[in-house]
Every structure is written in structure tokens, then in C-alpha cells.
């Protein structure tokens, strides 16, 4: 098997080398080759042996961790549609409907994002970086299902170019790429990103699902709370995730499975993740003691994008704090600001996205103080002598 692939690549390689017919696609060629075959280049200096971990493996693990939320999201798209229409549907029908709704978004997300990555890799003569594999799958999961494809495509282009590649690519970006794209949409097309008309898929696909009237509205539980009404959602629905919301954010259980994968493989920091929950819980608890929010502290954690943000976004190693002490502070403040924005800001019922983006800015500052402490201890050591 490996021989056949290797021979094939060796055969077509000349086309992609300097002067070849397809030279302009050499980054794509290399990308495909390293995707299929582990490069057998060996170390020339430094250590002669290497750990088998690499960034492809890490990014694949995050993708795997996202799959429960993705699958549940597909089912929930169907479930919400059938529920809204008052039509009985089988599990298969609901899931297939959700699958067909979401598939174009995943395809477009990868086409646009990876396309841009390929172009940049080509221009910079670098290998294609894997970071977008994660961003590309996250993108459809953090948007309302009714967000148009073209909008998502524009937001991804904006984010990958301006937020990531201009800063130097994966590893150098200050803001979480997927969240920056979401923020772009949130401020550019607010009517397609929040409110009460965007959360339930409302058209038929291949005879599946139900067409809902244009006037049909259904707010998310947080939207209901933000509007000043009491929510009727059961705790069980919140945890299982059978509520309206962005595609991947609703199921606490599905996200928890992802969290276990990320923590077990050590890809997400438990310090960051735990601190987000602690920060959010304490803040929400304080507000509910002060009677400023009608829902309990744990409902705050279960609803909206809190869990998804805490597990998949806050722990992004590139944009979060990098020092171990810094991770506690960084995570805690994300939880704090997310609830603060939810409760005190009358305009937005949700605060997770803004809290994480805000802390992305401050991550470097937090680290600065942690590292500076080490520096001043070292400086004092000299003086003490």
C-alpha cells in the first residue's frame, strides 16, 4: 500500500517541482503527500529521535473531539425543525435532515479556508499548516443554522487572511480565528446572527424536514431570559441539548465527551478549562444572589455558548495564556466576563464570544506579568549576593 502511494507521488513529483507544469500547485502537492505519507526526513542535528506527536496529530484529535457536538448538532437541527412544525419525524429523518443542512456549510467552510491557506503556503514557500482543519469544522458549529453560506464564506476569508495569515499563520495569531469570523458576522450582519428568527432551519431538503412560515420565530433560552421573560426549558433539555442555539453549542453531554478527549490527550489545558467554569459559576452565583439574573448559576453554564467556548475556544493554545499560572487567571476572567456581559448588557443575551476575544487580547499581558516575576526573581538573586 505504502509502496503504491510512494511510487505514484514519485511519478508525478516532477510536475510540481521548479519548472514543472504544475509548479503553482506545489504546496498542494506537498500537503497531499505529507497527509498520506509520513515524511521520512530524518534529523540532521540536535536530537536523533523524536516523539511521534506532531501538529497533524494534535489537530486531528481536536477534530475528533468536535465530532460528538457535530453529530448531535445535526440531529438537533432536524429535531428543532420537526418540533417547530409540529410534525412527527423519525430519528433517521431528523438526523438526515440536519446532515443535509449542515453538509454544505462544512464543505464551503473548508473550501474557502483551506483554499486561502494553500495560496498563502504557496506564496510563502511553506508547508500547509493544519490549523484550519479545526477552525473549518468549528465554523459551522458556532453559527446559527440559518446564517447564509455566502456570509460565512466572507467571514472566513476575512478571518483567515486578516486575523491569521497577516500575523504569520497558525501559532502567531492573537485572536481565535473561528471566533473572529463569528464576531465579524455578529457585527456586520446582526440580524442573521441573533434575534429569534435564525435558530430553526426552515426549509425542506430532498423532501426531508418542513417548510416553516417566514414569520416563525423561536428564541434561544438565553434570548428569552434577555428579553425579560421566564424560560420554560427543562434542565434535562439543556443538558442533552434539545434547545435552539448555534449548531454545536447546545449539548452539554456532547461537548463533555469532546472535553474528555481534549483533556485526556493533554491538548487542552485543564487549568484553563476548569478556571473558565469556576469563574463563570462564581460570577453567575453572585448575580443570582443579588437577584439580578432569573436563572441559576448552573443554568448559566449549561446555556448558550458557555460550554463550547470553555472547552474548544478558551483552550486554544495559540490564543490563550501560555504560562501555567497565567492559564488560571485567563480562564477565570473569561468565565467572569462571559456572565458579566450576559447579565449586565441589555443588547446581547450571550457573552462568551466577546469574553474570549477580550481575553485573547489580554493573554499576552497576563503572561508578561508571570514571566516578569521570574525575571525579577533572577535579578534579585544577583543583588542578594
Amino acid at each position: 500500500m505504502s509502496n503504491i502511494i510512494k511510487k505514484y507521488f514519485d511519478k508525478i513529483r516532477p510536475n510540481f517541482e521548479e519548472g514543472g507544469k504544475l509548479q503553482s500547485l506545489h504546496s498542494v502537492f506537498e500537503g497531499m503527500e505529507t497527509f498520506l505519507l509520513i515524511p521520512n526526513s530524518t534529523a540532521s542535528n540536535g536530537v536523533s529521535i523524536h516523539d511521534s506527536i506532531d501538529s497533524k496529530r494534535i489537530m486531528s484529535m481536536v477534530v475528533i473531539a468536535l465530532i460528538p457536538a457535530l453529530l448531535f448538532g445535526m440531529y438537533n437541527i432536524g429535531y428543532q425543525n420537526y418540533l417547530a412544525a409540529g410534525v412527527e419525524g423519525s430519528f433517521i429523518e431528523m438526523f438526515a435532515y440536519g446532515f443535509l443542512q449542515l453538509l454544505p456549510k462544512i464543505v464551503v467552510s473548508y473550501l474557502v479556508g483551506l483554499g486561502i491557506e494553500f495560496i498563502f503556503a504557496q506564496v510563502k514557500h511553506e508547508e500547509i499548516q493544519e490549523g484550519y482543519l479545526v477552525t473549518g469544522l468549528m465554523m459551522p458549529l458556532i453559527l446559527p443554522i440559518n446564517c447564509p453560506l455566502w456570509m460565512m464564506a466572507i467571514a472566513i476569508a476575512f478571518s483567515v487572511i486578516l486575523v491569521k495569515e497577516l500575523f504569520g499563520g497558525t501559532g502567531m495569531n492573537i485572536f481565535n480565528v473561528a471566533l473572529a469570523a463569528r464576531a465579524f458576522l455578529f457585527f456586520s450582519y446582526p440580524t442573521k446572527m441573533s434575534g429569534d428568527a435564525v435558530w430553526i432551519a426552515n426549509n425542506q431538503i430532498f423532501g426531508l424536514g418542513n417548510t416553516l412560515p417566514d414569520t416563525y420565530t423561536q428564541a434561544t433560552p438565553l434570548g428569552v431570559v434577555g428579553g425579560g421573560s421566564d424560560i420554560t426549558t427543562s434542565l434535562q433539555d439543556m443538558v442533552v441539548g434539545l434547545i435552539p442555539g448555534s449548531v454545536g453549542e447546545t449539548s452539554v453531554i456532547a461537548i463533555a465527551i469532546g472535553a474528555v478527549i481534549l483533556l485526556w490527550t493533554g491538548i487542552a489545558s485543564w487549568k484553563t478549562m476548569l478556571s473558565v467554569f469556576v469563574g463563570g459559576a462564581l460570577t453567575a452565583w453572585a448575580f443570582s444572589v443579588l437577584d439580578m439574573t432569573p436563572i441559576t448559576w448552573y443554568e448559566h453554564l449549561f446555556l448558550g455558548g458557555f460550554c463550547f467556548g470553555a472547552v474548544f475556544m478558551a483552550t486554544d493554545p495559540v490564543t490563550s495564556a501560555r504560562t501555567e499560572t497565567g492559564k488560571y487567571i485567563y480562564g477565570f476572567l473569561i468565565g467572569f466576563f462571559a456572565i458579566l456581559i450576559r447579565v449586565l448588557n441589555p443588547g446581547y443575551p450571550e457573552g462568551m464570544m466577546l469574553a474570549i476575544l477580550l481575553m485573547n487580547i489580554f493573554a499576552a499581558l497576563i503572561d508578561y506579568f508571570v514571566v516578569d516575576h521570574n525575571i525579577s526573581m533572577r535579578a534579585k538573586r544577583t543583588i542578594k549576593k
Binding site: M1, S2, N3, I5, K6, T34, F35, L36, L37, I38, P39, N40, S41, T42, A43, S44, N45, G46, V47, S48, I49, H50, D51, S52, I53, D54, S55, K56, R57, I58, S60, M61, E127, G131, G168, G169, T170, G171, M172, W264, T265, G266, I267, S269, P317, V318, S320, A321, R322, T323, E324, V371, N374, I375, M377, R378, A379, R381, T382, K385
Partner: protein, 451 residues
């Protein structure tokens, strides 16, 4: 001896490889051509003092340092200078000596250490060529004889994979080792770092030597780690370090008056038929050292040193002056793995639990030299710190070096580190950066700036 202080270290990583040397000492069957490589004495600009065709004894100078002609490197064998190999801009690559097999040595006269002071010990080490084995922090280069070090550090163990076990190497040579330590203690305070298994092994050490037990995974045997915990190097301070086996060299010349650069080299690795220890003077040709002991000739990597801090060599190379083992592992350049990044890869080692090393306990691995991934920007955080048992932010120091910010390198503690301290971090790095090279360049940058 008072109870030795024990320091526990949590950070680090022990990597178990197949082919650890069995505790058996052998001698090479043939040994003819030897070579001394000036680059092994990093920091010395060599001025060759012999000519092709000259006869030399063991202990005769081969080259001296241009900066300080008292600092010299001597011949490990007696015989005739065969060739002086030069590279670009007449850089001396190696000095080849054909051994006459007699090992006749120049007599420097026995010394009685208790009657000597710092200056006379230093002078004796310079005269006999032993001083060239001394290294210094900062910069991790050959020590400068005119410096006044605040301490001298010796580590009696290494936790690097496949490394020679000094407890075995020192057997039968304890007197020389202790005498060498005693001589060094005349120059500055000597710290000896030992592993928990070595408790009691050096109980009769001179009272001027402070023994500390370091209990922790690799790289707890690195002098750099030990310095960081006992007497960290501040700006303006100098600490000297020397390999434990080189302390034996010093002991021998003190006790006998004759130089004897014979080491007990561990020949190890999964591509070695019979992993054993070999007694040989430094500089032996690799083909003599490995004669008949290789499983195969192609697609193997021969390493001067261990797989983490050693340097790549080949069958035509020579044993490095400061290495304690020679390892042979598969090169891996003939292996093509399909979709390796997502397969379980049960036979590969990783600290990451997306692989299954964590399930396999103390299994030994047969790792090859593939990098197994593309180079990336630093993506993950805290990877280096988990295997870096020093009070230093390794990732931040690396970044400071990459951008060439000298002030920041100083602030972050570059004076305390050597490339070898980053070896385990380089192994686990998912971004596959060449950390040891980066640190070496940082140290060179700083040294140039300060001189």
C-alpha cells in the same frame, strides 16, 4: 561524610530504548588510526603544534588555543601524525594519528594534591592537557583558564537514553575518580551530583566535595539542572563543569604522572548486535569500535553520544573526545508510513496520550531518526516546561533567542543553560523546532556580544 542533601525533581522524561549496553567490558580487536577533532573542544581556536610525520607520545600537545597558548589538547595515543585534515578557510577538521600500539606516555611527574594550591593545580591541568576538558557556564564552551569559577560541577550519572552507566564505568577506578575530585576542589568548591542508586558509592569522597542526590527523570543528570538547583549562574559569574569520566583522567595523571585518556564507552542501540562497554582511548575510529558489531550497514544512524545530545557520525568517523557512549539506531529514511498521523502506532513512543505509550508501562522502544512531522511555529504551550526541571521559562527563552533579543535572553536566564538541557524538550516538541541548535546560536550570539 555528612548525609548528602537530596533534591527531588518531578519534571522530565525517561525514554527507554532497546539495546542498553550490558555491564561487560571488552577491548577493541583492532585499533590503528585515531583522530582528535578540535570541534569537540568547542570554543578553542586551534593552533596546530605538530606536523604530518611527527612522532608523538601520549600527552604530547597536538594543538593549543590561539587565545591562550597554555591551553592545549594532547594526544591520546603514541604514534605518528598521519594527516592534518583542513576544511574551508583552512579550518582544522581533525588530526589523524596512526598508533604504534605501545601507548608510551610522556611523564609529567606524580603530584601530591594536599601540598598544592589552586594555581598549581590549574597549572598542572593545563600542562597535562586535562584543562581542555573543562567547560564553563555561561556559554557552554571550553573554560577560560584565567577565570575564577565560583564552583565546579560534576555529575556522576546520566539519565539520557542508552547512556553509559557511570556506576559501572567507575568500577576499579574509584581511587582515580576521588583523587581527581580532590584536585579540583583546590580550585573551587566542587559539587558532585549523584543518583539515588549511587548512594554510598562515593562515601569516601574528600570533605571539600559536596555531594547532592538528584532524584528525578531525565535530564536530572545534566549538570545544568544541578547548577540551577544548587548555585545558579548569575550575570558575571562563572561555573566550571567537567564530565565524571574526565575527572578520572585527572586522577590518573595526578597519581601516575602519565596521561591516560582511556574511556569505557557504552556501545548501545537497537542496531548493535551485542551492546557492551568497550575500553578504548578517545579518538578511536568508529569502524574499529563497532567492528563486527553492527546488525546492518545501511539505513542505520551512528551517533557520537546518545540519541538525545549526541551528534550524527558515520562508519568513517572517530569517537568524540567528550562522549561516553556511541549509539546505533535505525535511520528510518526507508520507512513510509501511510496516514501515520492518525494511526494508533503501537510501537512508537509519545508522551501524548493520543498514542498508547502510557498503557505500555516500562516497554523499551526501537525509535528511528525520523522527525515524524513538519516544522511549525510554537503552537502548544507548556510542552517544554514539563520536561525542563529548571526555574526558567524555556519557551520564552527560545523565543527571545529566535528574535535575537540579548537583554531578554539574559533576563530569562540564558547564562544557566546549555544546549543539552533542551534535549528532552526538543524530543517532545510537537512543532519540531531544533531547540539545541537555537540555544547554541543564542549562546554564541551572547558570547560574541560580550567579548
Amino acid at each position: 561524610m555528612p548525609m548528602a542533601k537530596e533534591i527531588k525533581l518531578r519534571k522530565g522524561l525517561d525514554i527507554r530504548l532497546k539495546g542498553v549496553a550490558n555491564p561487560v567490558k571488552k577491548k577493541p580487536t583492532t585499533q590503528k588510526v585515531f583522530a582528535v577533532v578540535p570541534d569537540d573542544f568547542y570554543g578553542i581556536k586551534p593552533k596546530v603544534t605538530v606536523h604530518e610525520g611527527d612522532k608523538v607520545l601520549v600527552g604530547d600537545a597536538l594543538f593549543v588555543s590561539k587565545q591562550n597558548e597554555e591551553l592545549k589538547v594532547v594526544s591520546p595515543v603514541s604514534g605518528v601524525i598521519e594527516r592534518i585534515n583542513r576544511g574551508e578557510r583552512r579550518k582544522v577538521l581533525s588530526i589523524e594519528i596512526v598508533s604504534d600500539g605501545k601507548q608510551e606516555a610522556k611523564d609529567f611527574g606524580k603530584k601530591s594534591v594536599q601540598d598544592m594550591d589552586a594555581a598549581s593545580v590549574k597549572a598542572f591541568l593545563l600542562e597535562t592537557g586535562m584543562f581542555a576538558f573543562m567547560k564553563m557556564r555561561p556559554y557552554d564552551v571550553t573554560a577560560v583558564p584565567t577565570d575564577e569559577p565560583k564552583a565546579i560541577f560534576v555529575s556522576a550519572f546520566s539519565k539520557m537514553p542508552l547512556s553509559a552507566d557511570f556506576s559501572f564505568v567507575v568500577k576499579g577506578q574509584e581511587t582515580c575518580f576521588l583523587k581527581g575530585l580532590e584536585a579540583l576542589s583546590k580550585i573551587a568548591k566542587v559539587y558532585l551530583g549523584i543518583s539515588p542508586e549511587q548512594k554510598g558509592l562515593f562515601d569516601s569522597v574528600s570533605k571539600d566535595v559536596e555531594v547532592t542526590i538528584f532524584d528525578g527523570p531525565n535530564p536530572s543528570g545534566n549538570v545544568g539542572v544541578q547548577i540551577n538547583h544548587l548555585s545558579p549562574v548569575n550575570k558575571g559569574e562563572v561555573v566550571w563543569t567537567i564530565g565524571a569520566e574526565e575527572v578520572i583522567f585527572i586522577g590518573r595523571v595526578v597519581l601516575t604522572g602519565k596521561v591516560d585518556l582511556t574511556r569505557t564507552i557504552a556501545v548501545a542501540g537497537s542496531e548493535v548486535k551485542e551492546p557492551v562497554y568497550v575500553d578504548t582511548p578517545i579518538g578511536i575510529a568508529v569502524k574499529d569500535l563497532l567492528a563486527g558489531n553492527l546488525k546492518k550497514q545501511d539505513h542505520v544512524r551512528i551517533i557520537n553520544g546518545n540519541p538525545l545530545v549526541g551528534s550524527k557520525t558515520n562508519i568513517d568517523g572517530y569517537l568524540g573526545a567528550k562522549v561516553t557512549e556511541v549509539c546505533v539506531i535505525p535511520e528510518g529514511d526507508d520507512i513510509d508510513e501511510v496516514l501515520g498521523w492518525i494511526r494508533p502506532r503501537f510501537n512508537q513512543f509519545s508522551v501524548n496520550r493520543s498514542y498508547f505509550s502510557w498503557l505500555q508501562g516500562k516497554k523499551s522502544y526501537d525509535l528511528d531518526a525520523r522527525i515524524k512531522g513538519g516544522q511549525r511555529h510554537i503552537i502548544m504551550s507548556g510542552e517544554y516546561d514539563r520536561v525542563f526541571p529548571m526555574d526558567i521559562f524555556a519557551g520564552y527563552l527560545i523565543k527571545a533567542i529566535l528574535v535575537g533579543d540579548i537583554d531578554r535572553m539574559e533576563q530569562l536566564g540564558i547564562y544557566e543553560v546549555a544546549p543539552e538541557d533542551f534535549a528532552v524538550a526538543e524530543f517532545v516538541d510537537s512543532s519540531k523546532l531544533e531547540l539545541q541548535r537555537i540555544v547554541r546560536e543564542g549562546l554564541d550570539m551572547l558570547r560574541k556580544e560580550m567579548s
